[in-house]
Every structure is written in C-alpha cells, then in structure tokens.
Chain length 242, copies 6
C-alpha cells in the first residue's frame, strides 16, 4: 500500500522529518513518500499561505502517480476538501486526524500550535468537525514553524514542554494535541514527560489512512467530493479576455 | 498486539460473526478475540438494555486478561466511557469509529440502524461527538438486531439495501454508516451495490484501535478517564444497611 | 402520592440525609421513600461508578413496588434514561431538575460539584440539555462526596461557601447550583449567606416530580422511552456459550 | 401561597378558562388569580403583539399586590425576562415550563401552536432554552388563538387532534406540547386519545412555580434580573424635549 | 432617502449626539432624523427598560410619517422584531449591524458595553445571530449609559480606552465593537488609538440600512414579519372586563 | 471610492454581467471594476475549483492597484479569508453579504444555488457564520453556473422561479437568497414576482463594502487577518530540492 504525504509548505527539511516519522510509525508493508510543492510558501502561517499551498498541492497530486491514500501534513487541514474531489483514495488532514483521535483517548484535550494567527483557523476547524466541547483550548507557543527546525531541538523542546504543561493545567485537559506538522518528532518524548497522551497528527493520519485503505474505503465520488465536472464554455476564453 | 472486542449483547452467533469480520479486516499480527457477557441482554435495544450491558461489560473486562486495546461492538457506544476509566489501552465504540470515519470520506452521511428507539440515542451521540451537520439523518430499518441473524441473509440484505437506497436519496448523502454491529457482514456487498462508501463500525474500530496501539497511545489516565479512586467509607456498609 | 428517591450510591447515611431533606420540602400528602442499591459503589465518582450504579438501580426498581414518580439523586443523572424505559411514572435526575430550575431563576448560573473528574460529565449533560450559554461554568470543590459526610458539617460548609463565593464572582453568575446530592443540607444556609438562589437538585426534583404526577403526566411509552421489547432468541443462550 | 397568572392578551374569556384550568390543577392551599391587561392586544400573534403585551403586563404587575409567584400564560414567553427584573417571586412562562417538562417525559417532542407566524418565535425560544435536539418540530394548526374560543369546542378539538396526530407521526415524536394558552382545556382529552404525554404549559407552569415557591426559591436579584436601577438624568427631561 | 433613527431611551442629548454622528457618516442625499419616545426610560439598562422602550417605540413609529428605513439605536436591539412587523422599510438594530460588520473585518471581536446586566442580553443576541465563535467576549465598562454623557468626554474616553485595551488583550481579539449607542462619538478616536477596527453600531446601521433601501430591499411581509392581523373579538372587550 | 469586484471564475461574460449589476446598484461616485483571473476555472463548482480560484485571485490582487474595498463574487466566499490577510480595505464575499442581509429582512430564509455539490459548502459557511436557525434550507436548481448564461434568459428564469416558489413553500421561508453570482440579473424580477425579498449577493456586497469604506473601516491588521509575515528560510530552497 502506498501513501503520499503532502507537506503543504516547501520546506524540504520539514518534509524529510515528516517522512522519517511516518516511516517509523507506519505498518510494515506500507510504502511512504513525502513530498512538498516546491513553489509553496516556506511555512503555512494563516489563510493566505494556506490558499497558495492548496493550489500547489493540487498541481503536485495532478502530476504524481496515484497513491492508495493521502495525508496532508499541515494542522490547518489546508486543501483537504479540494484534494478529496480529485482523488479516489482517502485523504486525511493531520488536524482532523489528531483531533478525532484525541476524543478517543481523553475527555478533554487542548491544542498547542505555533502562532496566534493560526488559532482561529484551528478553532473554526474544530467547530466544523464538531469537537467544540471536547477541545478546551487552542493555544500558540509563539514559536514559528521554521523556528522549530532552526532552534536546537533541545531549546525548542523546552519551550514546547513548558507551554504544554501550562495549558494542560489552565484548561484542565487530559491530553495534548500537537498543532503543527513540525512538532512531530517531539511527540513521544513529550508524552513520556507529561504523562498524558500527546497526539501527533502526522503519525495518527498515516495510521488512520492505512486503516481506511485496508478497509477498501475511499473518498466518496457521489456527492460533495465527486470528481469536478468537465466544463466547456459556450464562449471561448480567448474572446472573454480579448 | 491483542485486541478484545466486546459485544455488549449476549448473542454468541453475533459475537462469532463480529469476530470473523474483525479477523478478516485486521492487520497481520493482530490477535483478535471477541467476547460477550453471558448475562447481558440478547440484543441492545434502547437505554435500559444498554445500562444492563454496560455493567456486564465492566465485569467481563475485570475478569479478562488485559488486552492492548478494546472495541465495543454496539453502535450506541454503550459503556465506552466507563470502560475507558478502568482500562489503560485505547477503547473505541463502533458508533464513534464509524461516524468519525464517515467524515473523512464524505461531505454528508446518513446512518441506518435497526429500530426507531435507537434513533435518539444515536442522534444524541452524534451531537455529542459534534457531527450534527455532517450527519444528515439517522434512520431505522425496523429490522431488529436478532432478525438480522434469523432472516436468511438475502432477505435481510434486501431490506437493508432498499432502506439504504431510499435514505441516501432522501438525505442527499454521500456515504452510509451501518448503525448496528449485526450488519457488519453486509458492508462490502452493500458498498459495491450502492457505489458509495459504506462504513461498518466493527471493521473501522478494529483498524483505528490498531492504529492507536501502534502509536503507543492509550486512554488518558490523568482526567475524566483516570482510574476510579479506591473508596473507603467512614461508616461500614454493614452498618449502613443494618 | 408516593415518590421513590433512588440514591445511586450505597451510602446509607447520605440516603437518610437525602430522605430527610425530601420529606422536609415535599408537599403535604406526599409519601417519600429513599433507597439505595446495597451493592452499588459507595459514591459515584465518574463514568464507571455511574455504570455500576445504573445496573443496581434497575434491579432495585424492578424489585420495588411501583411508585407514582421517581427521583435519581446523583447529579450526573446516572441511569435516568434507562429507568425511564422501565417505569411508567415520571423519572427525574437531580442534575437536570436543578439546572432547568436555575434557568427559571437566573440569567446565568454556575455549578459547584465535588471532584474534577465529574466536571466533563456534567458539562456534557448541560450541553445535551441545551443549557450551555446559561451555565457559565462547572467547578470542582475537590471535596469528595463521602468527605461531605465525614468532615464536620461546619468544616465542609466553609469549604463549599468559600468555593461558591469564588466561582460566582469569577463566572459573574447570578445563581449557584449544588452539583452533588450530598450537599443537599447546605442549600438553605448557603442561599442565605450568598444572597443568590442556591438550587439543590434533590429538593427541586422532588417538587417537579410531584408536579408532573399531579398533572397525570408520566414517561412517554411511545418512543425512545417505550418499555423494552421482550426478546426471544432464535438460538438458545445455552448453545451460544456452549 | 398566592400565584398570579398573567394572560398577556386582553381576552377575558381566555383568562377565565386559564384560571379554571389552573385552579383545577394547583395544589390545595394555592390561591390562584388570573388577570389580563385590559389594553393589551386581543391575542398575541407575533412580535408586535408581544411587545405591546409586555408593556401592559409590566403595568399590571406594578399596580397589583405582590404575589408569591407568577405565570405568564402566553407560549411565546412574552415579557418573562422583563417581569423577572421587577419581581422577587419566581416568574415562569408557559412555553419554557412546557418545553422543559417535555424533556423530562420524552426523548423527542413536537410543539403544536396556532399560526405559522409564531413558529419562528417558538423555535428561537427553544434554541435559546437549548432544547433544539429534543424538539423535533414546531408546527402551526392555522387555528388562530381566538378561534379556539369561537369555534365550538368539538370542532376546534377535531382540528387540533388531527394536526397533532399528523405531526407526531411526521416528526416521530413521543410527546406533544400544546403551543398556546388557549389550548389548555384540550390537554387531558387529547392525551387520552393520543396515548402520549400532552403537555400543557399553563398547568405545568403553575405546578413548577408552586415548586419553586415551596423551596423558597425566587428570582435572582444579583445579576441580569436585578431590580432596575433608579435613574436620574443630569439633564431634565423637560429640557430634553423643549 | 429618509431614515428614522429611533433612540429607545428618552435622553434628548444622546438622541442629538446620535443624530449628529449619523448625519456625519451618512451618504449625501440621505435625510436623517433621530427621535426618542418621550415617555421611555432615560436609559435602557436591562430587560425591563427594554420592554418599556419597545412599547414606546411602536407608538412613536405609529405616529410618525413612514421613513424609507429605520435604525434602532440601542445595542440590545430592543423592539427590532416588533418594529419589523409594523414597518415596510428595513429596520436594523445597532447591535446586529455592528456585530455582523465586525465579522466582515476581523477573525475575532470583543464587545464593550456599559453595565454587567446588559452582558447576558448581548450574549443571547450574539448567540441568536449565530456569532458565538466570532465574538470572544462581551464585557462591561461599569460606566452607565448616562454617565457617558455626564462625565467630561475625556474622562469617559479614558475609561473606555483603558477597558478596551484590556479586553482586546485578554480575549486576543482583532476588533472592538462598541456596545452602546452612547459611545458613538468615541469610535473614530478609539480606532486611531487602538490600531484595530472599532465598530460603532449607529454608523454601521445607518450605512447598512441605506444599502438595503438602495437595493429596494424591505422587511419581508410574507412570514414572521408580516403585518399584524386585524383582530375582531367574538366577544366585546367591554363585556370581557365587565 | 474604488471597489474591485473579483469574479473567481474566468467567465468574462459573467464578469461583465456582474459589473453591470454592480454599476447599476452602486452609489453615485463609486467606481466599480470587475475582473476575473484568466487562468481560473470557468465556473466554481465545488472545493477544487474554489481552491484553484483562490490562488488566481491572490495573484490578481497582488498585480492590481489597491482598491478601497473588494467583493468576491462567488457565493461560496472562495478565498475571502486569504484575501483579507493581504489587503487593507474591507473584503466581502457575496455569500456572507447576502446571508447577513437576509437576516435583517426576514425571520427565515432559503438559499437557491446551482448544483447539489455546492450545497454542503454553503451549509458549512452558513453554520460558520452562525446563521443555522435563520437559514431553513440550501437547495440546488441543478442549473450549472454556465447554463445560466447559455440558456436564453427566459428559460433559465423560469427554472429559477419555479424552484424558488417550491422551496419557499417547502421551507416556509420569508425571503430568498440567490446562491450564485450568475443569478444576479434575475433578482429584481424574481422579487417582484415572488412578493418576498430576493437577496442578491453581488448587489448587497457592493453596498455593504461601500458602507464599510465610508466608515473608514478596513480589514483588521492585528490578528488572524494580519499581513503574512516575511519568511526567510535558514536553509536555501535550492538545497531543499536539490
């Protein structure tokens, strides 16, 4: 079974880090490839980066061989709905994967993301996925995505751990969701130190997509995710912009 | 990895059928056992059956060797929260597993369950899981759980297929969720005939629990699912009821 | 008119205290009996205790003479739906009674319960009853149910009063709901000292059930609370577990 | 104990009918008076009638001796919040009383009111009281309030019964809520014929207010229902409108 | 085009201040008149003031020449639904206008109103308008409406600015909504000093009503806002109160 | 004042038609330009078209002179959040403009869009804007966007009118929202024939954006819509994809 992980941003080091995590956690026999659109923003910070990335992801998948399933490795679940329309295999965002999983493990969870500007995007997603009451808070560490790579791991880890400890206490939550694909490699160590489930979206999405593929379940092609219709204009586009 | 599937009702044939499905869909290397509490109701039809079953499930798991993860094979997700408190491995109800999965595959889904009396229970669960807008309707086939076994498979299948076709059209839904553990063996055939994803909770829950186990994620022991406290009364119980 | 109050836990002293409160507040002519299932947990702290208690409550009512109405004296409203299926008279949980009453008296209310682990259960109930915006917070005093009995009344009362004062101010709420059947005897004194309505679920539920009985209104037997169906298995249970 | 029932409209026959119902269902020892503001609209059909009636109700209660508790006998719960600010005793609308009671008796209920224009008002109230999922529909009989009096009882009853039967089936609801104070006298007969609980707001509100009074619970005077502040303008009103 | 602004309270200075603001911000060609009902409360502080004001507003508009559109200049949107029934032109409350506008300008906004007792009214409105997740908090400055006039502008402005700064930070909101018609004249200066959009309901409502009039859009006369029916009682009112 | 209307699809005829409508309804002194990205899909039918269009819209506005305000002329409100981040003037989608306006004019409204696949997108938007209870239904005419141009106006108008009549009756709604920018030119005629407000998003959005510009209100630059940060990677992109 082949899973394509699409890192919406164009950071190759983060893509490699995500690929490493995914290969470590996937089932034996699963073939993982991680790719990122070279022309995408270097990191996804907000709606505008997300919209640019969605476009480049659609081009990337159009030009790639079909995989059996797909993971979108941005916690904002950028472009997931759009990809679902064009692909037959299951497509899963790491945000929805992690948040759904957290509801299976804990009464209440909190999300720790990078920047304040991503908070309303994640709140809106959580509301749309219907997880409002389960999710007691979405918080920013104020550590940008790229700084997660730059800063020595220990320094970034300390900041994340300190923020996680604080928000779990403030929110009285029983589990932590890592709200960025770039925090993937911290999940296990953080879980050990915090003593509660720490849910990483990349790992969870890979395993959930494996599950859906294994069950022969793909994206529905009968409704809102049906393939886009071929459109032929009654008026030539050349004329339109003459 | 060992997964214990608990069929809340005491129907051994249904338990065996569930076990067969689970073994067919699980990953290689997963050891599946399905069990049912012998003193539970023969089928779970409503809140009262559910409350009786929850008690017997707690006794069953207390007396069983710990597994790595657990599936509760009733679409009402009977007793799932209670089990989570007493168990360290992940515990997943087939209702939540199927409904979360359906949101990953389709814009809108409908649920087909057995009896009308289960409809508000499932509606309440869907609301609590926050899936209201994704779930366009919960419908009853009026075919009781046990009749799914009794009636020749072809007869039951025809009723289910006819009802499924009708509700997908009425609700304009893109996927069907099978709202009863006893419909498990119909999922694949139904999916082929309907041309949309047909999500079976048993299969999905098995794969999702495998996923969580594989990621070393268990039930949080720090909050609402912490182990029950030992209680010692200041007043002896004998005295209490003297 | 005869009302049976079922204390889900097996604490006889608490049951007697609840019975005393109920007899003091009920209308003249109402015959109050309080009972508790002897094999139930000593206190209801979380989902697992609640599931055990629900089972024992069903057995208790099966073995009791029918009453005209029923009160379930645990703020989690443990087993209320299950009891409604098996009983014709109205059945009311003290959680729902108190929270509905609070909306009749105040724009916004807060709940003070015992342990943190009960908070998400009560939050979920409040959401299900639709009281989200009216209920500004559910808080734990960290005083376990049984400690309410053990500690001298003055000591426990001081803790409760201090916590109540703090949360009313923090939440800017106009009324307090006592979130545990074991706090019943504090209600009047606390109301006098705080100067806002302090709603006790036991008293309120008794009076509301009296109201429904007086109006000849019982539990609907036509839908989700209809009597459980008799089930006869096509396959003998002995065979099932052979 | 003295309860004042305020019929927001100025129909004396309806006021008398409401008073009769209330006296029949109240506890012994309760002194019921029903009154209506003589200058109010003849029936409350929509927001504008409701706003006029609220004003006249405030004047009526300002000029009346204080009662121990109050019932507002319009299903729209017209003016209830305003009255709560000016009165110390509990104030209950028949809409909220009936809808809260219905959730205590049935999994799902439907409301039958008079005119289509009242439907969104009741829907908004139900949403505000948080009863959305419990209330499966609000329907109009197209029989105006005053026609309930005019038409011979048998003719109006037939229309109501026919509409009730139809909507219970369509909504698959287990209880009916009568959505108008003018339907009060039909409740018992309708309940007998339909075989499900038929909840009348007038009766229910009277008993619930009795309950709250009996528990020494009044309207909170500490927050949103505190007494209106005395206002003294820095600028004389005469000057203002000179 | 003629717009009538109705200040629900009877403060002539505030009415003049509102009129000045409106005339300053309206389009050229728009004829603005602001009026207040002379017998209304001096300020609208809570539900009771609001109910009195609604009545006087209905009388005021009944006695006024029809305008092309109407603005209700109280942030509680007092009487707006009632006015809509009796008027053909669009009617807009300053609360809804400002809150809808804020969602067009910012991801998340906070409301700053006068007194704590108005907070639940505005929260309820925001919930009814469906803005829950966009509105991160409704806060009181504890400066009553009339004090906004009395205190020298600089003193009142300092209090408002200090409160605004504090709540924007606490709520992490990107825009401020002024929750009182009496704060209108502070909007521009406050926006300059805070560096985020400061939305004033009076200005916004005037422009939005202009927009609707310009588009020939008036209040629907076909449903819940249809004109009130003429009512003729079968029984003379004289007889009713004989 | 200059407003740029961005038609997300690349249909020049539709862009011209939108521009004509906008110029007809705008205030005197407003300078309207409508443009469409030449490489965008010919019509926006679903998430994938929307994602492609969002990208091209961002490029279009990056290359255009800044306007004072912006309208996005697709009822799905495609790319609106992304544009808000990059632009200082107010940005309004025709979907949100029309749905907010409808709540100002009618108790309940229905939306008529083109294809079934757009229904869940609009439902999700309505839920996110919080208009759930006000919006009684989103319906498809099954007339694709481009067919609105192709078919003679009379033929398309007949289909729209017939569908509108049917859904207003079925939903018991008091106003109709036209759920596609391509229906703009039908609004007035349809409103005349149906006798209820027919809200067109293009016209409404133009007037609302004029309003916001006139009030000096722009997109907040302090939070979720702040300008995207400049990002400099620690690792050269060339290296990344070497």
């Amino acid at each position: 079974m082949r899973i394509l992980i699409i890192n919406p941003n164009s950071s190759a080091p983060m893509t490699r880090s995500i690929e490493e995590t995914a290969r470590r956690v996937c089932s034996s026999g699963t073939d993982i490839t991680a790719a990122c659109p070279p022309d995408s923003p270097l990191s996804i910070e907000g709606h505008s980066d997300g919209a640019l990335a969605a476009y480049h992801m659609l081009r990337l998948t159009d030009q790639s061989d079909p995989a059996d399933g797909y993971v979108v490795a941005c916690f904002d679940d950028t472009g997931v709905d759009a990809l679902r329309e064009r692909l037959a295999g299951p497509v899963l965002g790491i945000g929805e994967a992690a948040m759904h999983a957290a509801t299976m493990l804990a009464c209440r969870f909190s999300v720790l993301t990078t920047l304040e500007r991503s908070v309303p995007i994640i709140e809106d997603n959580a509301a749309r996925y219907g997880l409002g009451i389960r999710c007691r808070g979405v918080h920013a560490s104020d550590l940008p995505v790229l700084a997660l790579e730059e800063s020595g791991d220990d320094s970034a880890f300390s900041i994340i751990r300190e923020a996680a400890t604080r928000i779990l206490k403030k929110d009285r939550s029983d589990a932590l969701v890592l709200g960025c694909g770039g925090m993937t490699h911290f999940a296990e160590r953080l879980g050990n130190e915090l003593g509660v489930p720490v849910v990483d979206g990349v790992s969870t999405a890979v395993r959930f997509v494996e599950s859906l593929i294994g069950l022969n379940l793909g994206t529905s092609k009968a409704g809102g995710y049906a393939y886009p219709r071929e459109k032929t204009s009654p008026i030539s586009k050349e004329d339109s912009h003459a």
